[in-house]
Every structure is written in C-alpha cells, then in structure tokens.
C-alpha cells in the first residue's frame, strides 16, 4: 500500500484485495464482547471534516477507536475554519499536534491531494470525500459488500459481475471511485444517468454508459442508486424531480425485473421517493444498512494497513 489513500486508482488489485480480506477478518470483531484491538495504540487520527457528514465521520471515528487510536474530531463548524483559516494553517496546526493520520473531507476536489503532497504534514492522508472527485473508502466498502453477496466464496473477487451505478454520476465522488475500483476488481460497470448528469470525459473511464435504466436492470448483479445532489446543482439538469424519478428512480415495478440474487445499494444519505422508493429501500434486496456496518470494518482495515506497521522511511 502507498502511504496515503487519495484515490481508488491508487489501489492495485493486490492492494484492494488485501484491504478487503483484512476487512473480512476485522468484521468479526463486531460480534465480540470487547470490540477493541490494540494495533494503533498511541497513534493519533484526526478527522478533518470541512463538509457535513454523519455516516463517514462516525464510521472513521468508530474504526479508529476500535483499533485503540486516539481520535481528534475537527469539523469546520465550531472551529477556526469558520473564521477563515486556510487549509495550510489548519494542516500546520495538525502537524504540530502530532497527527499520524488525517482523514479529510473537503468540498474542493483535490484538497486531500494538496494536503498529502504539499509537505505541510508528515502524516498519512485518507481521502474521505473531496468535492465531486473521489471517495475511495466508500468504494472499498461497496466492493466489500458486493463481494460478500456475490463473491463466490472468495473475498475481493468480483470477476465478471455486472454493476449498475444509477443517477447523478456527474456530482458523485462515490460513482467515480466505484467505477475505478470495481474495474480493478474485475467487475463490469454500467453508469446509467440522463446525458446531463454524466461527466465530460466519461468515455475514458473503464465503464459502459447507458441512458436506459429498464434495459440495464435485468442484467445487473448489483444496482447502486445515487442521490441527486441538489446542493451542487446550479442549473437545470432535468425538467422536474417527478420526471427524473420516473425515468431513473428505482421503484417496486423496476425491482421486479431484477434477477433473484441482485442486491440494491445506496451510499446514503438517500432521498426516499426520489431516486429510490421506500418499498425498495426496505426490501430484502436492500443491503443499505449492511453497507454502514461494513464501512467500519473497511475503514479499520485501511487505517491498520496505513498506520499499523513501520512508517515507511519518513518522507515518501
């Protein structure tokens, strides 16, 4: 593994399989009376969140604490960040406090990369979502969830499995990270979205694209629904929410066309009635709650693999 986790593209197939098999071992920890391992005793993990988040921040916090690391939470609201402090000055503060890893979420694409490569901090940097760019630990937990359901017994192998990622791909860091990672693991990814919500340059991604959800669903082994990110939209990407929902939403009628083993996923937060109906979200096919559980195990695996051993020779 490299010293930072900034992009799903940084992970080779071996790296990704190592994370997933480590996560598989760590998942059993949740069933034990003492949910704690000593691997990161004395290490400090800083959660640096410039954007709102519940799931990801809590998940990283639980992961770090279960590995016995000290956790410092740092969110934009209620800190000097809201007074206009720059990323650089925040980073220097973290460095002075002796952080071993910085988990960063930022509204600007590339902020974690800047933090990792600017020389401001010596710690490992984990990207917990940057703008519309990437969210690699989400992709890892999605791949982990898929491999548990579709993996044919071997953790990490998704060879030949068909995954449909549906919705607001343009604004989705989850879609980009998933497309890259799932291709690395051998899955065939199809992005389904209206033309206005597919990013420029999508033809260079290792994926197929489609505008027709009904044609893609019967072939998929996993369907991942994305939230329409209204807060990032400045313009008309589709006429009305109702029309979007009718063409690209997953409801009971569409769910009936899926294969028996197909699972339905959502990275959260979901908007019921928009991209996914309540009937689907609460159905047996839905693994949305399990994704959250798996998120802790996967993030433990990432933190352990980045911080658990000897730090590779200081500078990169």
């Amino acid at each position: 593994m490299k010293r930072h986790l900034l992009s799903a593209a940084d992970l080779t197939r071996d790296d990704a399989e190592l994370v997933l098999s480590t996560a598989a071992e760590l998942r059993s920890l949740a069933d034990r009376p003492i949910k704690k391992l000593p691997a990161l005793r004395g290490r400090t993990v800083v959660n640096l969140f410039f954007e709102d988040s519940t799931r990801t921040r809590i998940s990283f916090e639980a992961a770090a604490k279960r590995l016995s690391a000290d956790v410092i939470n740092f969110s934009a609201k209620g800190s000097s960040l809201s007074k206009g402090e720059s990323l650089k000055d925040t980073a220097l503060t973290l460095e002075a406090m002796g952080a071993d890893a910085v988990v960063v979420r930022h509204g600007a694409s590339g902020a974690p990369h800047r933090l990792a490569h600017s020389g401001w901090v010596r710690s490992s940097v984990v990207n917990a979502g940057d703008g519309t760019h990437e969210h690699p630990t989400q992709a890892l937990l999605d791949a982990f969830t898929m491999s548990r359901h579709l993996g044919q017994g071997k953790t990490g192998s998704l060879d030949g499995r068909r995954v449909a990622i549906v919705g607001d791909v343009l604004h989705s860091r989850v879609a980009r990270s998933n497309a890259l990672l799932l291709a690395t693991l051998g899955a065939e990814v199809t992005l389904v979205a209206p033309p206005t919500l597919l990013p420029v340059g999508v033809d260079s991604w290792p994926v197929e694209t489609s505008y027709d959800l009904d044609a893609v669903l019967p072939k998929a082994d996993a369907v991942m629904m994305l939230r329409v990110q209204r807060e990032r939209m400045h313009g008309g990407f589709f006429p009305t929410a109702r029309e979007y929902s009718r063409r690209y939403g997953l409801d009971g009628r569409r769910m009936a066309t899926l294969q028996d083993h197909t699972i339905v996923m959502h990275p959260g937060p979901m908007v019921r009635g928009m991209e996914i109906s309540a009937e689907v979200a609460d159905s047996d096919r839905s693994v949305i709650v399990e994704q959250v559980t798996n998120g802790v195990a996967v993030r433990m695996a990432v933190l352990y693999l980045l911080l658990g051993g000897a730090q590779p020779g200081g500078e990169e």
């Binding site: 071992e25 000593p38 658990g308 590779p312």
Partner: protein, 195 residues
C-alpha cells in the same frame, strides 16, 4: 511460527518425519486428556498458520479416543505482536472462535514452534479480549529453546536444542507438501520465531 514461505531450501536436516509427527501428536493428545481428566470443557485454538492444522489433528485424535468432538478454532495474534511497529503492516490471518466461546473453559493453545515466547505472549493478550478461560495451556510440536519471556509449554512434541543461527522449519500436509520438521543451518536469513 518460524515456518514461513522462505526461499526454497531443501538442504535442511530432517528432525521429525511424518510418522514422528503423528506419534508426537498422538502422545500430546493423550497427555492433554490425562491432564484435563477427559475432553469436557476443552477448547483447542491453533495459532495460524501451522498451529491450526495441528490443533485439528489433535482434535481428531481426541475424538477417536473419547468419542467427543472438541471445539477447535484459530487465533490470529498479528495485532497483539510486540514487533508490529518494526515492519510494514502485515496481512491478518484468520481468527475463528468456536461458538461455545472460551469463558470458563480450558483453552489449549497449539503452535508449531516455541522459540522466544513472544507469539504466545501475544496470544495470551488476544485471549484476554475474547473472554476468561478457566485455564490456558500450551501445546507445541517443537520447543527449540531460547526463551525471551517467562513462558513454557505444557505439552511438547519434541525438545530440540538449537543454536540461534539455525532455523527450524515445520511443513504440514494441507498447507505444504509433506509433514516434516527440518533444521536449516546459517544459510537462512534472519532467524526468528517472530515473523
């Protein structure tokens, strides 16, 4: 835990062959039963990777004698090792605790080679997080001496006096090709139970 997929080195001196190993395990199984006054309340936990098939073989022998299946599992100690920070992060091995748990039972830890004792120290810490056994015993196929901690084995297949530059290698059918314990001379790279 000295037996690692090291560079192929077949020049080692064979100390125990398959039949010696089989006899040693049979004796250990009987000693465990004798000491424990039966198989009740026993739990066998192998330390990966080669402690696990050893634990399973001991369980088979106990089943043959007592007609009772002893709960058997594996206990990975990677995260409890004292040399965790000295090397890059290692892949975890499989931990599987039998459904019955370990509370109030007699746990027999099973490993291939007892050397510095550091692996067993880590295993005791790991057990501590899993429950409270009534007693913990240690069974090893080979005790090669050179302890660095106050730890001893209760059941030993063979005491093997070695020098520190030698390397003891255990191969077991199932993981490797054949059952054998060999000693390799100074050719081997770093000597160590600790991986």
């Amino acid at each position: 835990m000295c037996a690692q997929p090291a560079p192929e080195d077949t020049t080692g001196r064979v100390v125990l062959d398959a039949r010696d190993i089989a006899r040693a395990l049979t004796r250990i199984s009987h000693e465990i039963l004798e000491r424990n006054k039966g198989a009740g309340d026993l739990v066998l936990l192998g330390i990966p990777s080669r402690g696990v098939p050893l634990a399973e073989r001991i369980a088979e022998r106990i089943a043959a004698v007592e007609g009772y299946d002893v709960p058997t599992g594996s206990l990975d100690v990677t995260m409890y090792r004292d040399d965790l920070r000295l090397k890059p992060a290692r892949a975890l091995l499989h931990t599987e605790i039998p459904e019955e748990g370990i509370d109030g039972r007699t746990v027999v830890l099973v490993d291939d080679v007892l050397f510095s004792g550091r692996t067993i120290r880590a295993a005791l810490d790991a057990l501590n997080d899993l429950g409270r056994p009534r007693a913990v015993r240690l069974a090893v196929l080979v005790d090669r001496g050179h302890r660095e901690l106050p730890i001893r084995a209760d059941f030993v297949g063979k005491n093997l006096p070695t020098s520190l530059v030698e390397r003891v290698k255990v191969t077991l059918a199932g993981i490797d090709d054949v059952d054998a314990v060999t000693i390799h001379g100074e050719a081997g790279a770093p000597v160590g139970e600790a991986r």
